[in-house]
Amino acid sequence: MKHRRLWPAVAVMVLAFVSACGGSGGGSSKADLTVWVDAARLPVAKAYQKAHPDVKMDIVTFDGDGNGATTLQSKIQLWNKAGKGWPDVIFSEQANDPVWMGQKPFDFAATITDLMPDSVLSQWPATSTAQCTVDGRQVCVQDNIAQVVLWVNKKKMDEFGYTVPTTWQDWAALGAKVATEHPGYIVGNIGDSYSHWIYLWANQCPLSGVDGNSVTINATDQHCTEMADLVDPLIKNGTLPPLGVFTPDFAKQYGGDDDKVLMMPGPSWYAKAVFNDTLHMPAGEITAAPPLQWEGDSEVTTGQVGGGPWIISKHAKDSKAAADFVTYATTEFNPTGADARPGYPAYAPAADTWLKGMAADTFFASDPTPALKDAADKIWGGWSLVTYPDQPVWSDTVVSKLVAGDSLSSLLEPLGEALANAAKAAGYDVAGN
């Protein structure tokens, strides 16, 4: 009798085991084209599938490898070890991903110049192409340029009777004024994982100067210390909080209908993605002003936050189809209105169309496009992309301590040391420290 009762249990166990093993998703070997995109690039992939119904696509959304994550490195390692499984096209939110993808041991990226004609590639700005060039070969094309401009709440500025600053010093002075006259309002934020790209990169602070296999990191250079001295009082008086724009705390405290954002230095893609989608600010308030200049400097330089690259796999079954998709995504896909691309297209003709759409968008208080166009070629070229991500170093070494009340000036040296450690661990020689 005990044996009779055992058989049903065994049968159920076997069935459960078999059903758990079979039917795992991802039959990518059956698809003609496998693309990995983040959430913001999903509309592009879907649009391509719709326009090319004969191409069987496998669209995979992932975290975009943003904020210095290791997602793509682990995945490519595993695919390399297994010898199969690579997607044909990857979009990454980390601008420095192509740098390690184009080198050993990952060796993932295909040479773009073999797959896309020069007539198309020449329409990217030289700085953008330079960021995609590793050891003399171009391994990616950037989807958008992410130049930093000064976003201004025109409505509130007019209401309070302030003029839009053109220099960092004027901006800081205004911050001091705002702290006493309109407490609660902010002139920027410094708690994002990429805030050093907005404030330090813009002022030519030498934290990432690559020359061959050597990287120059000098966090106590004058360009860095003078910016730190400028922003420390603002962090202290609350007009430059060490919070990130994408945290729920930030949206609650500074966003919404009664928003407290007076000014915010930020990249071009903040336009709708941050002020509308994340902070839900009312229309008719925000516009863009040219990037701030350090008083006394002859030229204006600004920073960069992203500019996501498209990378085609070396192991793609059909490189032509992959190249066709990337060409479509960067040059053709350019809807207007609510479905517009979130970033300033790197492909110049697409940029013109996009700018026209932005100029007509009623969300902005005034036309933001002149400022965006002006800043497009002002990104400081002395900050190179490296194989290691510097965002986590900034977050861990600086932001966590800013939250605890330390000043940025006191954290520059630890930042330099931590960056040097990360560089050495990644195999670079470090100079200038």
Binding site: Q77, F106, G191, T247, D249, K252, P392, A425
Partner: protein, 321 residues
């Protein structure tokens, strides 16, 4: 008298993911010493043995091989170990794990034993409901419980924001996860998921104490406190030792909690906070599987040493009391 306890031990060994090799060998040892009239016992143990070999022993041997070889395959001596020890993240990670494990084990030993004794001292109907409630958080997979805690720790969305403000002193999420607070936060998360299961195990252990002993002690004039401390506690010390061994192993191998908090905080908590995370980064960011294996062997040695010390001190494998 020992049979329900040992069968209890082998089924709970399949539940916990600590998976110390010492444990299954102990259950097999006992089965053998009682003779083979338990083919049924074997049929329970053999599937687990299969998975233990495939996913525990073989990877461990592979890691041992990797730790002593170079990437090209040649013998590397102890070079991987010295190189990883010199990594700038190695010592901080070990420090973090040490503080975390100390806090976690202290919490566990004190509160789990306390709760189990309280549960055992109460009436049985109420205690079965409590046993379910204690066990329930442990049914959540580790990653899911961390996600729940991420919401609990964020003052702007937490239902317990009063406590977050006043006990943790945090007005923003980034303050909740300040570096100094992290070992305690991770210990809290791990306790919430892990303690319940152990309370149930220790309750089962307490049930093996014959009621005649308790009655005799009561007749001799022992109050509930004396009963708990002088009678019950010494009799379950082997189960407490077992709990400490497994929890030490899972504690030193902490990975899920700091990894998820790293992603949720967008990098503010470093992705090499714990030693296991450092091993993961070495393998997948730097493609240095040999160094990662060296860290894994470090953790294995630490766990085995602790197990050895605890076993010899408490006489865990000695047959009778």
């Amino acid at each position: 008298m020992t049979s329900p306890a040992t069968e209890h031990r082998s089924t709970s060994a399949t539940e916990d993911q600590g998976g110390a090799a010492a444990l299954s060998s102990s259950s097999v040892q006992v089965a053998r010493s009682r003779g083979l009239h338990g083919w049924r016992a074997f049929s329970f143990v053999v599937p687990y043995l299969l998975f233990l070999v495939l996913f525990g022993i073989l990877p461990m041997l592979y890691a041992l091989k990797l730790a002593f070889t170079k990437a090209s395959g040649g013998f590397a001596g102890f070079r991987n170990f010295t190189d990883t020890a010199k990594d700038y993240r190695f010592v901080p990670a070990m420090e973090h794990v040490l503080v975390y494990t100390t806090v976690w084990l202290s919490l566990l030993m004190v509160f789990v034993v306390l709760l189990a004794l309280l549960l055992h001292g109460r009436a049985s109907r109420a205690s079965s409901m409590f046993r379910f409630m204690y066990y329930f958080p442990g049914a959540l997979a580790g990653a899911a419980s961390v996600l729940v805690w991420l919401f609990m720790l964020d003052p702007s969305v937490s239902p317990g924001s009063f406590f977050v403000h006043h006990v943790l002193g945090a007005h923003h999420f980034v303050e909740s996860i300040a570096p100094g607070k992290l070992p305690f936060i991770f210990a809290m998360i791990a306790f919430w998921t892990g303690a319940g299961g152990w309370v149930v195990v220790l309750y089962g252990a307490l049930n093996t104490i014959p009621t005649e002993l308790e009655d005799a002690a009561r007749i001799d004039g022992a109050g509930p406190l004396t009963l708990a401390l002088r009678l019950k506690l010494p009799l379950i010390r082997k189960w407490i030792a077992y709990m400490v061994i497994l929890s030490f192993a899972t504690g030193t191998q902490l990975f899920v909690e700091p990894q998820l908090v790293n992603q949720a905080s967008l990098g503010m908590v470093p992705d090499t906070w714990s030693s296991n995370q450092l091993g993961y980064q070495l393998a997948f960011r730097y493609a240095d599987f040999n160094a990662a294996a060296a860290i894994a062997v470090d953790l294995l040695v630490v766990g085995l040493l602790a197990a050895f010390v605890i076993i010899s001190r408490t006489g865990l494998f000695k047959a009778a009391d």
